[in-house]
Symmetry: C2
Subunit: 193 residues, 2 copies
């Protein structure tokens, strides 16, 4: 392992510990010390990797939002029908929120801990995510494949439905991200057709 | 004002200050001192009203959940069609989440701060809320008015859609709880018909 690899392995461990801590106690309710304590590390050992708790939250938010965006882009095939496309994208969104529900909780509910410039960076990635949904809904409407009153409201409702998964997943009833993805994809298809 | 009225007016002021504080900094991230400081009150002045921060959270959660349940019951008229009923109930749910978005945030996202017995009390009220939706969806399905694959999944999605409103409301686009209630009611009607 090079020095660089060791450094980034330590940073990854800190990030994972922070995700657990923030998901359980909230960003505001968690101190740097509480995070490093989970790793039997002194608080000062964090600073070569993240200069502050906010830098750590930003790194988590950045990775999380990029991960979700990549996953949704990866499944969206413009050659397919808009019905197939919206189904694939919703399935990917729901599965991601369910699989990484702790990370998603931090990514979705703790953004008010970010500095304004960091928040703006994250908001730009969020917009790209919702643009994927928006693009499909508008194309489907223009092609007469979808019947929607207001595309923006539909995009809002679809995003909202997917985001909320991380608040309650897993439940007694739903433990399988893929099954939940299928269920939500078919409910969303009904909303647009 | 009797002594009793003065006591309960003070308790109400503390509850309101706590809702603001919890909605902004999270339950775990807020100290009793930070709440009472908002009222220029000493921390010990809270104890005749609420014995702990958790008692305060429980009082807020109890009021909030009872308020939402009463609002939904108040608009549900079993004499009407299931389509009208689900529309009315969703409208009430969304409007409540939007109007009282700070209270709703505490009520929906901070429940893990409760003791297990208090959590169970709140869970019972939450069940009554979702039973209202469930009852309408099942009746609609039995009567052939609704066409749904699995009523439980539909109830979950409807609740989830409504709950998430408090995370983002108000937005640039949506500032009017009633208009949002109409939009979501019509999207939900499409999900069940």
């Amino acid at each position: 392992m090079s020095d660089y690899d060791e450094l980034s392995a330590a940073a990854a461990r800190i990030q994972l510990a922070a995700i657990d801590a923030f998901a359980e106690g909230g960003y505001q309710g968690t101190s740097t010390r509480q995070i490093t304590k989970r790793l039997n590390m002194s608080a000062t050992a964090m600073y070569p990797h993240f200069r502050s708790k906010e830098e750590l939250l930003f790194a988590i938010a950045l990775d999380g939002h990029h991960g979700l965006l990549a996953r949704m882009r990866g499944v969206d095939d413009p050659e397919r029908t808009c019905t197939e496309r919206i189904g694939a994208v919703v399935r990917a969104f729901v599965e991601w929120q369910a699989e990484y529900h702790k990370l998603a909780k931090v990514v979705q509910f703790e953004l008010n801990g970010l500095t304004p410039p960091h928040f703006r960076t994250i908001a730009r990635i969020r917009r790209q995510t919702s643009d994927i949904i928006s693009d499909i809904v508008r194309k489907g409407q223009a092609a007469g494949e979808f019947e929607v009153d207001d595309p923006d409201d539909v995009v809002l409702a679809i995003s909202s439905l997917c985001v909320d998964v991380c608040r309650w997943f897993p439940s007694r009833r739903h433990k399988d991200p893929r099954r939940l993805g299928d269920v939500y994809a078919s409910l969303v298809e009904r909303m647009v057709r």
